[in-house]
């Protein structure tokens, strides 16, 4: 791991909402090609951290770098353009568009035809439109939803919506994908399928995954390294096994009864 490059570096990041410190001095680095878990009890600041990383929030202190370049202060779309995509905890699909259209929107940052091309239907526009359609079908197939391409996103079952959101994020061709509680509300067999999917994505597309999870079991089985947040601070980092034994982590999860 030491020889690998740091893809995402978070250096003593703080985020305050008025008087409330949601994040304090959080530092972590995600290496290329790993599955990095971000866990912690409810309201520990996991989603806040992802929102800071992906440009939805501006950070109050600290530095965030992607492949060595600062992405702080960039708009969300610019961060996606640099290869960092995400999904949302409370699924945010374009519910009244079809599954295919949702993924086609994901191709937006990797296509370039403008108004004139669209109106004149130039040869390059038609080619690009065909490529977008093919790419969308490809990603739908990857997550096992191609049969549902024409269904409305809002009408898909819950698990399929989660997978569709991942397909949409993948269509932006990211190097790093942050998944905010991707298996929440799923049954054990669905969770196993999702874990398999993550491993396949990493293997086939050299994807680095940042996994935000409540489900400790999944994180422990899947992640190379794990960071634990509690009350906006990082209380532990390391291999899943070492974190599991960490006194501070046990205290955070069980509520102060640990020795």
């Amino acid at each position: 791991m030491c020889s690998a490059k740091a893809l995402l570096e978070v250096a003593s990041v703080g985020k305050r909402f008025g008087g409330l410190a949601a994040l304090t001095e959080v530092s972590l680095s995600v290496q290329q090609g790993e599955i990095y878990g971000l866990i912690g009890p409810h309201c520990a600041g996991k989603t806040t951290l992802v929102n800071c990383m992906t440009g939805l929030y501006s950070v109050s202190d600290g530095q965030i770098r992607l492949s060595g370049e600062s992405i702080q202060g960039l708009k969300p779309h610019a961060i996606v353009q640099r290869g960092f995509a995400r999904t949302f905890q409370n699924i945010r699909l374009f519910a009244n568009m079809t599954a295919l259209e949702n993924v086609m929107v994901g191709c937006h940052p990797r296509s370039r035809v403008g108004v004139l091309g669209a109106v004149l239907r130039t040869a390059s526009e038609r080619r690009e439109e065909r490529e977008i359609r093919e790419a969308a079908h490809f990603w739908l197939t990857r997550v096992g939803l191609n049969a549902k391409a024409r269904s409305l996103a809002g009408h898909l079952p819950y698990g399929a919506q989660r997978r569709l959101e991942i397909a949409r994020a993948l269509a932006t061709e990211p190097h790093l994908l942050a998944l905010d509680e991707p298996v929440a509300g799923m049954n054990p067999s669905e969770r196993r399928d999702m874990a398999d999917l993550f491993l396949r994505l990493r293997h086939d597309h050299q994807l680095t995954l940042l996994l935000i999870e409540h489900d400790v079991k999944l994180v422990m089985g899947l992640c190379d390294r794990v960071a634990v947040l509690d009350y906006g601070r990082k209380i532990a980092e390391g291999s899943p096994a070492s974190v599991q034994k960490d006194a501070a982590v046990i205290k955070a999860y069980l509520g102060g009864h640990a020795a």
Partner: protein
């Protein structure tokens, strides 16, 4: 019969073309010149409604000051083709410049509103619409730009290949009224605008607009530059408005700030809401209906005189009453519009509601 036509799209298209081609002549015989003028206005309103539909229907930005771009296009035409400044440029030079001029204002007025949504956006755009009108009303001093409330007149009619669009003209040996010529010109622009709108809708830009309308945060997180695309929507809408404004100035020969008041903005918005927001055929139907119905209701006064011997209810009042009643009934029975897109219908039907509630409750359980 409609089903039969649907199966043969080429035939129905040909029928439609013939119908549109002979429409002004039929109307001219049945109703007279005023009827043909009404058709001309209907086409102008279709252009306007299509433009506003890009902003409101596609990108989901509620714009209540849309008429400002119509005004800007009209004044731009008047500045360059009337005795006011002594300029008499040909229309094919003015119209492209006028649309660019309006588009620039679209960006200018859109930029400060980017952070606003829903009601707030509506109120600010409403203010902008009024500002433009009030400017036009007062820009007769210190430098007389707009001639103030008197308006600008003697605007050059459109002239193509030596045929001026005024009075009666002989074209290919046929004697044709100017209103007929304008009808075909407006029809050509409208058909181009329809094609334009359809192609935008089916492009990556149209999809990005739809994504912004559905969920702006998710759109941004999917790599869509929401700022630029919203400005583009404003600019595109303004382009249509500016074009219609230029055509209006040439057609009327006279413009004044009174033609561009808030009621006009609301009327155009009503057209797209009535017809079916975001759905081009619906928008066209809405625009045509709302131009022609009020005119038709004008005859109610004559009808009363004929049947009751006197005018009991003033026709103008009755028009507003029926208009209001129609809107209320529509909101009750066809909230998605008379001819909505499938997508919009889903958004506004009970089924969609149920699904959304189910989703929300599911997510709540998660938390």
């Amino acid at each position: 019969m409609i089903a039969a036509l649907r199966e043969r799209p080429r035939l129905s298209l040909a029928l439609l073309a013939v119908l549109l081609a002979v429409l002004p002549f039929v109307t001219g015989v049945l109703i007279g010149q005023s009827g043909v003028r009404m058709l001309d206005f209907a086409l102008l309103y279709v252009l306007l409604a299509l433009g506003l539909n890009l902003v409101v229907g596609y990108a989901g930005l509620l714009d209540l000051g849309y008429i400002a771009f119509y005004a800007l296009g009209a004044y731009f035409y008047a500045w360059l083709a009337s005795p006011h400044f002594g300029l008499h440029l040909p229309f094919w030079m003015i119209l492209p410049m006028g649309t660019l001029f309006a588009a620039a204002f679209g960006v200018l007025l859109g930029a400060p509103t980017l952070r606003l949504r829903g009601d707030y956006l509506a109120i600010v755009t409403l203010g902008f619409g009024e500002i433009i009108r009030i400017f036009m009303n007062n820009l007769d001093a210190p430098v007389n730009l707009t001639n103030g409330p008197q308006g600008m007149d003697l605007i050059d009619p459109i002239q193509i290949a030596g045929i001026g669009f005024s009075g009666t003209q002989e074209v290919f040996g046929l004697v044709v009224q100017a209103t007929h010529l304008y009808y075909y010109l407006f029809l050509a622009f409208t058909l181009a605008a329809i094609l334009f709108a359809y192609r935008l809708q089916d492009s990556r830009i149209g999809r990005a607009w739809a994504a912004i309308r559905e969920d702006e945060v998710a759109a941004a997180a999917t790599g869509i530059n929401t700022r630029n695309l919203k400005l583009l929507a404003f600019a595109m809408g303004a382009t249509f408005g500016g074009l219609a404004g230029g055509l209006f100035a040439a057609f009327q020969g006279f413009i004044s700030p009174e033609s561009f008041n808030l009621m006009e903005s609301i009327l155009i918005l009503c057209m797209i809401v009535l017809g079916g927001m975001g759905h081009i055929p619906g928008v066209i139907v809405g625009a045509v209906l709302l131009t022609i119905l009020p005119e038709a209701l004008r005859y109610i006064g004559d009808l009363q005189r004929a049947m009751l011997g006197e005018v009991v209810v003033d026709a103008a009042n009755l028009r507003m009453l029926i208009f209001g009643l129609a809107l209320v009934l529509m909101m009750l029975y066809r909230p998605a519009g008379l001819w909505p897109s499938r997508q919009r219908r889903r958004e506004l039907t009970a089924e969609g509601e149920v699904v959304r509630h189910e989703q929300e409750s599911l997510v709540d359980v998660q938390r």
